[in-house]
């Protein structure tokens, strides 16, 4: 039986980050994936020949600087486009653009409220402070629970002391962030419905909380996590990999290859071999067995435990705990091939913010209704849509003069209260999104050459993601940090020897792209260094 130091299951972003880190750390790594092309969720595909978009993800977002630098990705050809922060369009014709430059951004807000323009400075300061506060938590592994009575007690008393030492205003802010609904949090800064809806819609995307759900304020900080805080004073920038997510995948594959790692596509792992509660290898669909010193799974937590193992091999209670992890589909993807550049007459000509994408937002009460529909498993009547036109800044993605449009539709239930997602309903969702687009870009419907609508259960069927949940497990606070993927695990190390979870089901979840992969690799490398 061939043996590798480490096998990574799944060639998505986190799997490749983990594999690249391990390869650079000197390990002999093999990546296995059942798909034909690497990339996982953000694998690129052609809607029709010549029009390329990421199939399941929007296509924006980068990797944290520490991972980019740590893997030396720029040397392997990775570049990022730094775009402005995006635009929100409203049904009544209003729009709100976000700018990195503080003066420009405040002037934009002042169109709606002078008071809000002043409040922006306070809001930005508080967001950056919160993001900085979260950085140590998100930037590395959660510390494993300390074992032993006295050590545990000491750790908890230390924590109590650290909390007591926090300045009272900061403590109040922390509590507000982790308990308030985001609408109430925004109310304490802003008065303009436009300004509030612009910020709320960005925070609601990809989450399972509504505008008035407690603890939702926490998500407002997400766009600020990657912000370096260089003193522009405006909205956080949007990072776009040049060449799309495929370029990111390509650079990671190049690192793996450069350090002697191997990637095998169309190699589905069906079973994991165990001995004495430790994993020792994998079995492929064709019956081939491959040995491994360690196995890292970038599948979601349910697939990782419930479909790769014989349940009788798992420690008692694990199946139940994994079963309780909440995974719910919340987004659909609509991909369009366009015959030309759509026009946005309400925007000033050449508005640079468009490059960062746009949202069809609606005001907060509308988002609340849409959220409520989703909770009751009704197809969205008024969806929240986030759109990126990646061909705007990368001409290679579409034939000359043509464009591709990538849209993420928020609050699409994975299963319906009545009936099922039939072909008709799928078409209706596509029609609805195009109709909404046509409200801000009249005539766009005539530019559509081809379209594809991918529902949560398509994600589940095509790539095996449970529930079609692109967050790999709900990101509510009871499933984050030390409770991710479930209480008692709380790190990349699993209860099974030499088996690691490197998907966003593990800490830090989807909040830090590639973070889970980097964490798992760091754990394994440290273990080996420790000679255990």
């Amino acid at each position: 039986m061939v043996r590798h130091d480490a096998i990574v299951i799944g060639a998505g972003l986190n799997g490749l980050v983990a594999a690249a880190s391990l390869a650079r750390g000197g390990l002999d790594v093999l990546v296995l994936d059942r798909a034909a092309a690497a990339g996982g969720l953000s694998a690129e595909y052609e809607i029709v020949p010549g029009f390329r978009v990421p199939r399941y993800t929007l296509g924006s977002g980068g990797l944290p600087a520490r991972i980019v630098a740590g893997l030396d990705l720029p040397r392997h050809g990775l570049r990022f486009v730094r775009a402005e922060g995006g635009v929100s369009f409203f049904p009544d014709g209003a729009y709100h653009a976000a700018y990195r430059d503080g003066v420009v951004h405040r002037r934009e807000i002042a169109r709606f409220s002078r008071r809000d323009a002043d409040a922006w400075t306070r809001y930005r300061r508080d967001m950056l402070r919160a993001a900085r506060g979260l950085a140590p938590l998100l930037g590395g592994p959660v510390r494993a629970p300390v074992k032993g009575f006295f050590a545990g007690l000491r750790a908890r008393l230390d924590l109590a002391d650290r909390i007591a030492a926090i300045a009272p205003e900061d403590l109040a802010d922390m509590v507000r962030f982790s308990t308030l609904p985001l609408s109430e949090f925004l109310d304490s800064y802003f008065e303009s419905p436009v300004v509030k809806a612009h910020l709320a819609s960005a925070a609601l995307m990809r989450g399972t909380l509504g505008p008035s759900t407690p603890t939702g304020a926490f998500r407002l900080v997400v766009p600020w996590l990657a912000e370096t805080g260089d003193a522009m004073g405006g909205a956080p920038e949007t990072l776009l990999p040049y060449g799309g997510p495929a370029a990111l995948t390509g650079a990671l594959l190049a690192v793996i290859a450069a350090h002697g790692g191997q990637v095998r596509m169309e190699a589905e792992v069906t079973d994991i071999l165990m001995k004495d509660r430790k994993v020792r290898g994998v079995v492929l669909a064709n019956g081939e067995e491959i040995g491994a010193g360690a196995i890292l799974s970038s599948l979601d937590v349910k697939r990782s435990f419930l479909s790769l193992f014989q349940w009788r091999d798992l420690p008692e209670g694990l199946v139940e705990r994994v079963g309780r992890v909440r995974m719910k589909g919340v987004t659909a993807k609509v991909n369009l091939a366009l015959d030309g550049l759509p026009d946005f007459p309400s925007l000033p000509h050449g508005c640079p913010s468009l490059a960062g994408g746009f949202r069809l937002a609606g005001y907060i009460p509308q988002m609340e209704r849409t959220f409520s529909d989703w909770r009751h498993r009704i197809p969205p009547r008024d969806p929240l849509v986030e759109v990126l036109i990646p061909s705007l800044h990368d001409a290679t993605l579409a034939p000359a003069g043509k464009q591709v449009l990538s849209a993420l539709v928020q609050f699409v239930p994975d299963a319906l209260h009545e009936g099922a997602w039939s072909g008709e309903r799928r078409d209706a969702l596509g029609d609805l999104v195009i109709a909404r687009l046509a409200e801000v870009s009249p005539g766009i419907e005539k530019l559509v050459l081809a379209r594809e609508v991918l529902l949560p259960n398509d994600l589940e069927g095509e790539i095996g993601l449970t529930g079609g949940d692109i967050a790999y497990g709900e990101t509510t606070l009871d499933q984050m940090f030390m409770n991710r993927p479930f209480p008692g695990m709380g790190s990349a190390e699993t209860p099974l020897g030499n088996f690691y979870l490197c998907s966003p089901s593990a800490h830090p979840g989807p909040l830090v792209p590639g973070g889970a992969g980097a964490n798992a690799a760091a754990h394994l490398l440290e273990r080996r260094k420790g000679g255990r």
């Binding site: 629970p145 009575f149 545990g152 007690l153 908890r156 008393l157 924590l159 109590a160 002391d161 909390i163 007591a164 030492a165 009272p168 205003e169 109040a172 509590v175 507000r176 982790s178 308990t179 308030l180 109430e184 109310d187 304490s188 909380l209 008035s212 759900t213 407690p214 603890t215 309780r324 909440r326 609340e368 409520s372 909770r375 009751h376 509510t476 606070l477 009871d478 030390m482 409770n483 209480p487």
Partner: protein, 536 residues
Amino acid sequence: MAWGGKKYDAIVIGGGHNGLVAAAYLGRAHRRVLVVEARDHLGGAATTGEISPGYHASSVAHLLEAFPRRIERELKLGRHGLRYAARDVPTIALDRDGRHLLLPRSRKEFAAFSARLPKDAAAYRAYLARLQAFAALLAPLFAERPPKSGDAEALQRLLRRIVWRAELSGGRTMRRLMRMLPESIGDLLDADFESPLLKGVLAFDATLGGGEGPYAPGTAFRAICREAMRMQGQGARLPVGGMGAVVDALAAAVSAQRGEIRVGARVARIIIEDGAVAGVELEDGSAIRAPLVVSSAGPRATMLDLLGAPRLETGPVTQLRSPVPRGAVAKVNLALEGRPEFTGLAPELYGARLIVSPSLEELDHASAVFRQGGFASDPVMEIIVPSIADATLAPQGHHVVSILVHYTPYEIEQGWQSRREVFVQRVVRALEHYAPGIGDIMVAGEILTPPDIENKYGLAGGDWHQGDIRLDRLFGFRPAASFGRYGTSVPGLYLCGAGSHPGGGVTGLPGLLAVETIIEEMPAGKTRQRNEEEPA
């Protein structure tokens, strides 16, 4: 000018139970106290009202769940006339098909419970044990003053104490508690239980009083808080004569300490001289002087209306303005010329706390309708027939029914004026299902929507918790970070109502803890001295 020529050491604004507790404790500390109440009767939300001649019921709050023995003993409320008609009132989940579920209090009741729900029995025992362990951890915090904002040493002492206590109940307690803080009660119950009825009643208790549905994050923590508050009391009790009896006993306690009470005296503003409190001015223009003013009115009303926003810094004003308190409970009181007959319920249990909350789905649905400004067609509610245990409430053989209707919005589509009838009909129709024929023996009734509760009993927004139970509005953050310890930015002005720690419910704790703060910060000599310096 001192009113009536008398001089007072302290004025208490508001004659609700917290105001009276504060006044009685100030009297115990040898302060001459005057209580001024705007309405013509005492009690605030803790009163007994007459539904129609001869029929009495607790107007708003209807069960004593967290009233501390300490207050009862120290203020000698028993000697002042407080008696109980029922102690340890049981809770029963009413079932649509008549298979009602008694939440067990004894070994015998637990055996019956296990026989009925064999799969859930062990889980229920574990759930209660966990809830009680967490609540026991927090309960002491509800019985004492939160540490002063900025006092890192006091906060450290407090947190270290929690850690030690958690350690004694097992090393994993702390971690489990941390997980439960942001969890929803619905998710938690779904993971452990099968019976929809059991889940429904447990989630009812965790959500009552707030507008959040059972699947809203933070509702599991509400269950812990509620349990911790219950631990302050002596079990669910019904006072003889309804809630008004508690207030009568408290008023007697105030008088026994030579305190004075004036009803029908509405305060127009708090008088400030040289940056400190000097007394209050009533709406009739008269002024009453005292170096100490303790307000049991809502924090917003006290600080923004009676004191005035210009006297405050912007930060505290913003904190007080949002969120606007909004009640989510309506009260329905009915007078019956006969005894209601509940299908499937043993008559000895007619005096129990009866909960209509058949499942998490229905509770969730009711909250969803509530959030859109409506009320559910099948109301979720808490029913008590207090006259079963307390014959003083209604004529011989007659009864009164007291109902809390959960998830009733303050503002309603089409307005309460036009929807009132429908609301009552739905409540009565739901009652008819469990007690057929109850409509035929109904002789009178009253309904108090959240706006009614606001107007009639002076609770802002009709919110009887005066600010929901949320982590950002508890302890030192209640009612707002700047007023987290009863004192305010104005020397001599204190808050002592449900808006202050530990919050709503008939507990008297905010009143008691406010006085503890006052005694510490303004020793008796100080208030006396300043009083005597004034010209006669």
